[in-house]
Subunit: 213 residues, 2 copies
Protein backbone atom coordinates (compact mmCIF):
# COMPACT_ATOMS: atom_id res chain seq x y z
CA UNK A 1 0.00 0.00 0.00
CA UNK A 2 1.24 3.42 -0.98
CA UNK A 3 1.49 6.45 1.30
CA UNK A 4 1.64 9.69 -0.62
CA UNK A 5 3.05 12.99 0.50
CA UNK A 6 0.02 15.32 0.44
CA UNK A 7 1.07 18.88 -0.39
CA UNK A 8 -1.99 21.12 0.19
CA UNK A 9 -0.64 23.57 -2.39
CA UNK A 10 -0.88 20.83 -5.03
CA UNK A 11 -4.13 19.25 -3.86
CA UNK A 12 -7.71 19.65 -5.10
CA UNK A 13 -10.98 18.31 -3.72
CA UNK A 14 -13.47 16.72 -6.12
CA UNK A 15 -17.12 16.55 -5.03
CA UNK A 16 -18.83 14.28 -7.54
CA UNK A 17 -22.51 14.54 -8.52
CA UNK A 18 -23.88 15.63 -5.11
CA UNK A 19 -26.94 16.98 -6.89
CA UNK A 20 -30.59 16.90 -5.82
CA UNK A 21 -31.44 14.05 -8.18
CA UNK A 22 -28.93 11.79 -6.38
CA UNK A 23 -29.20 13.14 -2.83
CA UNK A 24 -32.74 14.37 -2.07
CA UNK A 25 -35.14 11.99 -0.37
CA UNK A 26 -37.22 10.22 -3.01
CA UNK A 27 -35.05 11.52 -5.86
CA UNK A 28 -35.00 9.46 -9.09
CA UNK A 29 -31.38 8.32 -8.57
CA UNK A 30 -31.47 8.46 -4.78
CA UNK A 31 -28.39 7.32 -2.86
CA UNK A 32 -29.56 7.34 0.78
CA UNK A 33 -26.00 6.82 2.04
CA UNK A 34 -24.98 9.96 0.14
CA UNK A 35 -27.30 12.02 2.33
CA UNK A 36 -26.01 10.39 5.50
CA UNK A 37 -22.38 11.29 4.77
CA UNK A 38 -23.08 15.01 4.33
CA UNK A 39 -21.86 16.19 7.78
CA UNK A 40 -18.45 14.59 7.15
CA UNK A 41 -18.25 15.78 3.55
CA UNK A 42 -19.27 19.30 4.58
CA UNK A 43 -16.40 19.41 7.06
CA UNK A 44 -13.91 18.27 4.40
CA UNK A 45 -15.20 20.92 1.99
CA UNK A 46 -14.92 23.66 4.63
CA UNK A 47 -11.41 22.66 5.70
CA UNK A 48 -10.31 22.58 2.05
CA UNK A 49 -11.74 26.05 1.41
CA UNK A 50 -10.00 27.39 4.52
CA UNK A 51 -6.70 25.91 3.32
CA UNK A 52 -7.11 27.31 -0.23
CA UNK A 53 -7.44 23.79 -1.63
CA UNK A 54 -9.60 24.17 -4.76
CA UNK A 55 -13.06 22.64 -4.40
CA UNK A 56 -14.32 21.24 -7.69
CA UNK A 57 -17.91 20.05 -8.02
CA UNK A 58 -19.10 17.88 -10.88
CA UNK A 59 -22.63 17.86 -12.25
CA UNK A 60 -23.83 15.21 -14.71
CA UNK A 61 -25.88 16.72 -17.56
CA UNK A 62 -26.97 15.79 -21.06
CA UNK A 63 -28.16 18.02 -23.87
CA UNK A 64 -31.92 18.03 -24.32
CA UNK A 65 -31.60 16.73 -27.90
CA UNK A 66 -29.59 13.76 -26.58
CA UNK A 67 -26.65 14.14 -28.96
CA UNK A 68 -24.19 13.55 -26.08
CA UNK A 69 -25.94 10.56 -24.51
CA UNK A 70 -24.52 7.67 -26.51
CA UNK A 71 -25.04 4.40 -24.67
CA UNK A 72 -25.94 6.23 -21.42
CA UNK A 73 -29.51 6.34 -22.72
CA UNK A 74 -29.56 2.58 -23.41
CA UNK A 75 -28.32 1.83 -19.92
CA UNK A 76 -30.48 4.21 -17.85
CA UNK A 77 -34.21 4.51 -18.45
CA UNK A 78 -34.49 7.90 -16.61
CA UNK A 79 -31.83 9.38 -18.93
CA UNK A 80 -33.59 8.08 -22.05
CA UNK A 81 -36.86 9.57 -20.78
CA UNK A 82 -35.22 12.94 -20.09
CA UNK A 83 -36.12 12.74 -16.39
CA UNK A 84 -32.59 13.31 -15.04
CA UNK A 85 -29.41 15.18 -15.95
CA UNK A 86 -31.40 18.00 -17.56
CA UNK A 87 -29.40 21.25 -17.71
CA UNK A 88 -30.99 24.05 -15.70
CA UNK A 89 -33.35 21.73 -13.79
CA UNK A 90 -33.70 21.53 -10.00
CA UNK A 91 -32.32 17.98 -10.18
CA UNK A 92 -28.84 19.03 -11.31
CA UNK A 93 -28.42 21.71 -8.64
CA UNK A 94 -25.91 20.83 -5.93
CA UNK A 95 -27.71 19.75 -2.73
CA UNK A 96 -28.25 22.94 -0.78
CA UNK A 97 -26.43 21.99 2.41
CA UNK A 98 -23.12 21.73 0.55
CA UNK A 99 -23.73 24.19 -2.26
CA UNK A 100 -20.74 25.80 -3.97
CA UNK A 101 -19.39 29.14 -2.76
CA UNK A 102 -17.62 31.90 -4.69
CA UNK A 103 -14.28 30.62 -5.89
CA UNK A 104 -15.37 26.99 -6.16
CA UNK A 105 -15.28 25.35 -9.58
CA UNK A 106 -18.16 23.52 -11.25
CA UNK A 107 -17.61 21.06 -14.10
CA UNK A 108 -20.29 19.53 -16.30
CA UNK A 109 -19.69 15.92 -17.30
CA UNK A 110 -21.47 13.43 -19.57
CA UNK A 111 -20.01 10.07 -18.64
CA UNK A 112 -19.26 8.53 -15.23
CA UNK A 113 -15.67 9.76 -15.25
CA UNK A 114 -15.16 13.44 -14.49
CA UNK A 115 -12.16 13.33 -16.86
CA UNK A 116 -13.83 11.94 -19.99
CA UNK A 117 -14.79 14.70 -22.41
CA UNK A 118 -14.43 17.52 -19.85
CA UNK A 119 -11.97 20.29 -19.00
CA UNK A 120 -11.02 18.78 -15.62
CA UNK A 121 -7.51 17.76 -16.66
CA UNK A 122 -6.86 21.20 -18.19
CA UNK A 123 -7.98 22.90 -14.98
CA UNK A 124 -5.90 20.64 -12.71
CA UNK A 125 -2.77 21.22 -14.81
CA UNK A 126 -3.30 24.96 -14.75
CA UNK A 127 -3.69 24.87 -10.99
CA UNK A 128 -0.51 22.78 -10.70
CA UNK A 129 -2.41 19.99 -8.92
CA UNK A 130 -0.82 16.56 -8.40
CA UNK A 131 -3.14 15.16 -5.70
CA UNK A 132 -6.89 14.64 -5.99
CA UNK A 133 -9.19 13.98 -3.04
CA UNK A 134 -12.23 12.12 -4.39
CA UNK A 135 -15.67 12.30 -2.75
CA UNK A 136 -19.30 12.03 -3.80
CA UNK A 137 -21.68 9.56 -5.41
CA UNK A 138 -21.90 6.85 -6.65
CA UNK A 139 -18.86 4.98 -5.29
CA UNK A 140 -18.69 2.27 -7.98
CA UNK A 141 -19.86 4.44 -10.88
CA UNK A 142 -18.70 8.06 -11.13
CA UNK A 143 -16.34 8.09 -8.14
CA UNK A 144 -14.46 4.92 -9.06
CA UNK A 145 -14.30 5.81 -12.77
CA UNK A 146 -12.86 9.20 -11.86
CA UNK A 147 -10.33 7.64 -9.47
CA UNK A 148 -9.19 5.23 -12.21
CA UNK A 149 -8.84 8.01 -14.76
CA UNK A 150 -6.97 10.22 -12.28
CA UNK A 151 -4.45 7.46 -11.59
CA UNK A 152 -3.87 6.85 -15.34
CA UNK A 153 -2.92 10.54 -15.58
CA UNK A 154 -0.57 10.15 -12.57
CA UNK A 155 -2.59 12.18 -10.09
CA UNK A 156 -2.16 10.91 -6.54
CA UNK A 157 -5.64 9.64 -5.64
CA UNK A 158 -6.96 10.09 -2.10
CA UNK A 159 -10.28 8.23 -2.00
CA UNK A 160 -12.32 8.95 1.13
CA UNK A 161 -13.93 5.77 2.45
CA UNK A 162 -16.62 7.68 4.39
CA UNK A 163 -17.30 10.44 1.83
CA UNK A 164 -18.08 8.22 -1.16
CA UNK A 165 -21.46 6.51 -1.11
CA UNK A 166 -23.06 3.65 -3.01
CA UNK A 167 -26.55 2.17 -3.26
CA UNK A 168 -27.69 -1.44 -3.02
CA UNK A 169 -27.79 -3.19 -6.38
CA UNK A 170 -30.52 -5.71 -7.23
CA UNK A 171 -29.70 -9.26 -8.35
CA UNK A 172 -28.49 -8.79 -11.92
CA UNK A 173 -27.49 -12.41 -12.29
CA UNK A 174 -24.82 -12.54 -9.58
CA UNK A 175 -26.90 -12.13 -6.41
CA UNK A 176 -28.10 -8.91 -4.78
CA UNK A 177 -25.24 -6.64 -3.71
CA UNK A 178 -25.45 -4.41 -0.63
CA UNK A 179 -23.85 -0.97 -0.55
CA UNK A 180 -21.48 -2.32 2.12
CA UNK A 181 -20.22 -5.00 -0.29
CA UNK A 182 -19.70 -2.39 -3.00
CA UNK A 183 -17.79 -0.15 -0.60
CA UNK A 184 -15.58 -3.04 0.57
CA UNK A 185 -14.58 -4.19 -2.92
CA UNK A 186 -14.12 -0.71 -4.41
CA UNK A 187 -12.08 0.62 -1.47
CA UNK A 188 -9.89 -2.51 -1.51
CA UNK A 189 -9.33 -2.32 -5.28
CA UNK A 190 -8.39 1.35 -5.10
CA UNK A 191 -6.12 0.82 -2.08
CA UNK A 192 -4.39 -2.03 -3.91
CA UNK A 193 -3.78 -0.41 -7.27
CA UNK A 194 -5.05 3.13 -7.67
CA UNK A 195 -4.15 5.26 -4.68
CA UNK A 196 -4.71 5.82 -0.99
CA UNK A 197 -8.03 5.14 0.71
CA UNK A 198 -8.65 6.80 4.07
CA UNK A 199 -11.41 8.22 6.27
CA UNK A 200 -12.12 11.95 6.27
CA UNK A 201 -10.80 12.10 9.84
CA UNK A 202 -7.42 10.73 8.76
CA UNK A 203 -7.31 13.12 5.79
CA UNK A 204 -7.91 16.15 8.04
CA UNK A 205 -5.19 14.91 10.40
CA UNK A 206 -2.75 14.43 7.51
CA UNK A 207 -3.53 17.93 6.22
CA UNK A 208 -2.93 19.53 9.63
CA UNK A 209 0.32 17.58 10.13
CA UNK A 210 1.40 18.96 6.76
CA UNK A 211 0.74 22.47 8.10
CA UNK A 212 2.98 21.92 11.12
CA UNK A 213 5.76 20.32 9.06
CA UNK B 1 -30.49 -4.30 -17.96
CA UNK B 2 -29.59 -3.72 -21.56
CA UNK B 3 -29.62 -6.32 -24.33
CA UNK B 4 -27.49 -5.33 -27.29
CA UNK B 5 -27.77 -6.48 -30.85
CA UNK B 6 -24.42 -8.23 -31.47
CA UNK B 7 -23.38 -7.90 -35.11
CA UNK B 8 -20.33 -10.19 -35.64
CA UNK B 9 -19.17 -7.91 -38.48
CA UNK B 10 -18.86 -5.04 -35.99
CA UNK B 11 -17.53 -7.06 -33.04
CA UNK B 12 -14.00 -7.52 -31.71
CA UNK B 13 -12.65 -9.78 -28.96
CA UNK B 14 -10.23 -8.32 -26.42
CA UNK B 15 -7.96 -10.73 -24.54
CA UNK B 16 -6.39 -8.70 -21.76
CA UNK B 17 -2.95 -9.41 -20.26
CA UNK B 18 -3.04 -13.23 -20.54
CA UNK B 19 0.75 -13.23 -20.30
CA UNK B 20 3.04 -15.67 -18.51
CA UNK B 21 3.66 -13.27 -15.61
CA UNK B 22 -0.08 -13.31 -14.79
CA UNK B 23 -0.99 -16.86 -15.80
CA UNK B 24 1.92 -19.28 -15.21
CA UNK B 25 2.01 -21.21 -11.96
CA UNK B 26 4.15 -19.33 -9.45
CA UNK B 27 4.33 -16.21 -11.65
CA UNK B 28 4.97 -12.87 -9.89
CA UNK B 29 1.45 -11.56 -10.58
CA UNK B 30 -0.23 -14.98 -10.63
CA UNK B 31 -3.99 -15.15 -11.05
CA UNK B 32 -4.78 -18.85 -10.48
CA UNK B 33 -8.37 -18.37 -11.68
CA UNK B 34 -6.99 -17.00 -14.94
CA UNK B 35 -5.37 -20.37 -15.65
CA UNK B 36 -8.55 -22.25 -14.78
CA UNK B 37 -10.66 -20.34 -17.30
CA UNK B 38 -8.38 -21.08 -20.25
CA UNK B 39 -10.47 -23.90 -21.81
CA UNK B 40 -13.49 -21.57 -22.02
CA UNK B 41 -11.44 -18.60 -23.22
CA UNK B 42 -9.70 -20.74 -25.82
CA UNK B 43 -13.05 -21.77 -27.24
CA UNK B 44 -14.21 -18.14 -27.45
CA UNK B 45 -10.97 -17.16 -29.22
CA UNK B 46 -11.31 -20.00 -31.72
CA UNK B 47 -14.97 -19.28 -32.49
CA UNK B 48 -14.13 -15.58 -32.98
CA UNK B 49 -11.29 -16.42 -35.38
CA UNK B 50 -13.57 -18.76 -37.34
CA UNK B 51 -16.18 -15.98 -37.61
CA UNK B 52 -13.61 -13.36 -38.69
CA UNK B 53 -14.14 -11.44 -35.45
CA UNK B 54 -10.82 -9.66 -34.80
CA UNK B 55 -8.92 -11.04 -31.81
CA UNK B 56 -6.96 -8.32 -30.01
CA UNK B 57 -4.50 -9.25 -27.28
CA UNK B 58 -3.11 -6.70 -24.85
CA UNK B 59 0.28 -6.94 -23.18
CA UNK B 60 1.29 -4.65 -20.31
CA UNK B 61 4.85 -3.33 -20.70
CA UNK B 62 6.98 -0.47 -19.41
CA UNK B 63 10.14 0.99 -20.87
CA UNK B 64 13.26 -0.16 -19.09
CA UNK B 65 14.17 3.42 -18.14
CA UNK B 66 10.78 3.78 -16.44
CA UNK B 67 9.76 7.00 -18.19
CA UNK B 68 6.24 5.63 -18.82
CA UNK B 69 5.66 4.22 -15.33
CA UNK B 70 4.29 7.23 -13.46
CA UNK B 71 2.48 6.15 -10.32
CA UNK B 72 2.40 2.49 -11.47
CA UNK B 73 5.84 2.15 -9.90
CA UNK B 74 4.68 3.59 -6.57
CA UNK B 75 1.74 1.21 -6.45
CA UNK B 76 3.43 -2.06 -7.51
CA UNK B 77 6.76 -3.13 -6.03
CA UNK B 78 7.49 -5.66 -8.86
CA UNK B 79 7.11 -2.87 -11.43
CA UNK B 80 9.43 -0.55 -9.51
CA UNK B 81 11.99 -3.34 -9.27
CA UNK B 82 11.76 -4.07 -13.00
CA UNK B 83 10.64 -7.66 -12.35
CA UNK B 84 7.50 -7.53 -14.50
CA UNK B 85 6.20 -5.84 -17.67
CA UNK B 86 9.67 -5.90 -19.24
CA UNK B 87 9.52 -5.70 -23.04
CA UNK B 88 10.97 -8.79 -24.74
CA UNK B 89 10.96 -10.88 -21.55
CA UNK B 90 9.36 -14.33 -21.16
CA UNK B 91 6.91 -12.77 -18.69
CA UNK B 92 5.17 -10.60 -21.27
CA UNK B 93 4.67 -13.40 -23.78
CA UNK B 94 1.07 -14.56 -24.17
CA UNK B 95 0.53 -17.86 -22.34
CA UNK B 96 1.33 -20.55 -24.87
CA UNK B 97 -1.99 -22.39 -24.84
CA UNK B 98 -3.80 -19.33 -26.20
CA UNK B 99 -0.99 -17.68 -28.12
CA UNK B 100 -1.84 -15.31 -30.97
CA UNK B 101 -2.09 -16.60 -34.54
CA UNK B 102 -1.42 -14.82 -37.82
CA UNK B 103 -3.97 -12.07 -38.30
CA UNK B 104 -4.51 -11.45 -34.58
CA UNK B 105 -3.64 -8.01 -33.21
CA UNK B 106 -1.35 -7.29 -30.26
CA UNK B 107 -1.45 -3.99 -28.38
CA UNK B 108 1.05 -2.79 -25.80
CA UNK B 109 -0.43 -0.82 -22.91
CA UNK B 110 1.00 1.03 -19.91
CA UNK B 111 -1.95 1.58 -17.63
CA UNK B 112 -4.78 -0.76 -16.59
CA UNK B 113 -7.07 0.45 -19.35
CA UNK B 114 -6.31 -0.87 -22.83
CA UNK B 115 -7.57 2.47 -24.18
CA UNK B 116 -5.37 4.87 -22.20
CA UNK B 117 -2.34 5.98 -24.21
CA UNK B 118 -2.68 3.20 -26.82
CA UNK B 119 -3.85 2.82 -30.42
CA UNK B 120 -6.80 0.58 -29.50
CA UNK B 121 -9.47 3.18 -30.29
CA UNK B 122 -7.83 4.00 -33.64
CA UNK B 123 -7.79 0.31 -34.56
CA UNK B 124 -11.40 -0.31 -33.52
CA UNK B 125 -12.62 2.69 -35.54
CA UNK B 126 -10.68 1.56 -38.59
CA UNK B 127 -12.20 -1.91 -38.28
CA UNK B 128 -15.68 -0.36 -37.94
CA UNK B 129 -16.18 -2.06 -34.56
CA UNK B 130 -19.06 -1.06 -32.27
CA UNK B 131 -19.12 -4.07 -29.91
CA UNK B 132 -16.28 -5.24 -27.69
CA UNK B 133 -16.14 -8.65 -25.99
CA UNK B 134 -13.90 -8.26 -22.94
CA UNK B 135 -11.93 -11.17 -21.45
CA UNK B 136 -8.71 -11.65 -19.51
CA UNK B 137 -7.12 -10.65 -16.22
CA UNK B 138 -7.47 -9.01 -13.74
CA UNK B 139 -11.25 -8.54 -13.51
CA UNK B 140 -11.23 -5.47 -11.24
CA UNK B 141 -8.06 -3.89 -12.64
CA UNK B 142 -7.35 -4.05 -16.37
CA UNK B 143 -10.58 -5.72 -17.49
CA UNK B 144 -12.92 -3.40 -15.58
CA UNK B 145 -10.93 -0.27 -16.49
CA UNK B 146 -11.09 -1.26 -20.15
CA UNK B 147 -14.83 -1.97 -19.94
CA UNK B 148 -15.42 1.47 -18.38
CA UNK B 149 -13.34 3.22 -21.02
CA UNK B 150 -15.06 1.29 -23.82
CA UNK B 151 -18.49 2.36 -22.58
CA UNK B 152 -17.44 6.04 -22.36
CA UNK B 153 -16.54 5.79 -26.07
CA UNK B 154 -19.94 4.19 -26.80
CA UNK B 155 -18.71 0.71 -27.59
CA UNK B 156 -21.24 -1.95 -26.64
CA UNK B 157 -19.46 -3.88 -23.87
CA UNK B 158 -19.92 -7.64 -23.60
CA UNK B 159 -18.16 -8.66 -20.39
CA UNK B 160 -17.74 -12.43 -20.03
CA UNK B 161 -18.41 -13.52 -16.44
CA UNK B 162 -16.45 -16.78 -16.84
CA UNK B 163 -13.57 -15.45 -18.98
CA UNK B 164 -12.47 -12.62 -16.70
CA UNK B 165 -10.55 -13.65 -13.59
CA UNK B 166 -9.59 -11.97 -10.33
CA UNK B 167 -7.35 -12.84 -7.40
CA UNK B 168 -8.07 -12.68 -3.66
CA UNK B 169 -7.12 -9.35 -2.10
CA UNK B 170 -5.64 -9.16 1.39
CA UNK B 171 -7.20 -7.00 4.12
CA UNK B 172 -6.26 -3.46 3.09
CA UNK B 173 -8.37 -1.89 5.82
CA UNK B 174 -11.77 -3.14 4.70
CA UNK B 175 -11.48 -6.88 5.35
CA UNK B 176 -10.00 -9.57 3.10
CA UNK B 177 -11.79 -9.85 -0.25
CA UNK B 178 -12.18 -13.18 -2.07
CA UNK B 179 -12.04 -13.39 -5.86
CA UNK B 180 -15.69 -14.46 -5.75
CA UNK B 181 -16.64 -11.20 -4.01
CA UNK B 182 -14.69 -9.20 -6.59
CA UNK B 183 -16.41 -11.04 -9.43
CA UNK B 184 -19.86 -10.51 -7.92
CA UNK B 185 -19.47 -6.75 -7.43
CA UNK B 186 -17.69 -6.04 -10.72
CA UNK B 187 -20.12 -8.10 -12.82
CA UNK B 188 -23.09 -6.45 -11.09
CA UNK B 189 -21.68 -2.94 -11.59
CA UNK B 190 -20.98 -3.57 -15.26
CA UNK B 191 -24.40 -5.17 -15.81
CA UNK B 192 -26.06 -2.18 -14.16
CA UNK B 193 -24.27 0.66 -15.90
CA UNK B 194 -21.64 -0.34 -18.43
CA UNK B 195 -22.88 -3.10 -20.70
CA UNK B 196 -23.96 -6.71 -20.88
CA UNK B 197 -22.45 -9.42 -18.71
CA UNK B 198 -22.87 -13.01 -19.82
CA UNK B 199 -21.18 -16.42 -19.75
CA UNK B 200 -19.08 -17.58 -22.70
CA UNK B 201 -21.73 -20.22 -23.41
CA UNK B 202 -24.43 -17.55 -23.81
CA UNK B 203 -22.14 -15.46 -26.02
CA UNK B 204 -21.48 -18.38 -28.36
CA UNK B 205 -25.22 -19.07 -28.53
CA UNK B 206 -25.96 -15.41 -29.31
CA UNK B 207 -23.31 -15.40 -32.04
CA UNK B 208 -24.71 -18.53 -33.70
CA UNK B 209 -28.30 -17.18 -33.49
CA UNK B 210 -26.99 -14.09 -35.25
CA UNK B 211 -25.65 -16.32 -38.02
CA UNK B 212 -29.05 -17.94 -38.58
CA UNK B 213 -30.89 -14.61 -38.54
Amino acid sequence: MVEFKIDPKKTALLVIDMTNEFIKEGAPLEVPQGRKMIPKLKKVIEVCRSRNIPVIYTVHVHRKDGVDMGLMKELWEPIRMGLVHVPGSEGVKIYEEISPKDGDIIIEKHRYSAFYGTDLDIILRNLNIDTLIITGVVTNFCCESTARDAMFRDYKVIFLSDCNAAFDMPDLGFGAVSYEEVQKVVCSTIAMGFGEVMSSEILLMRLSQEEEA
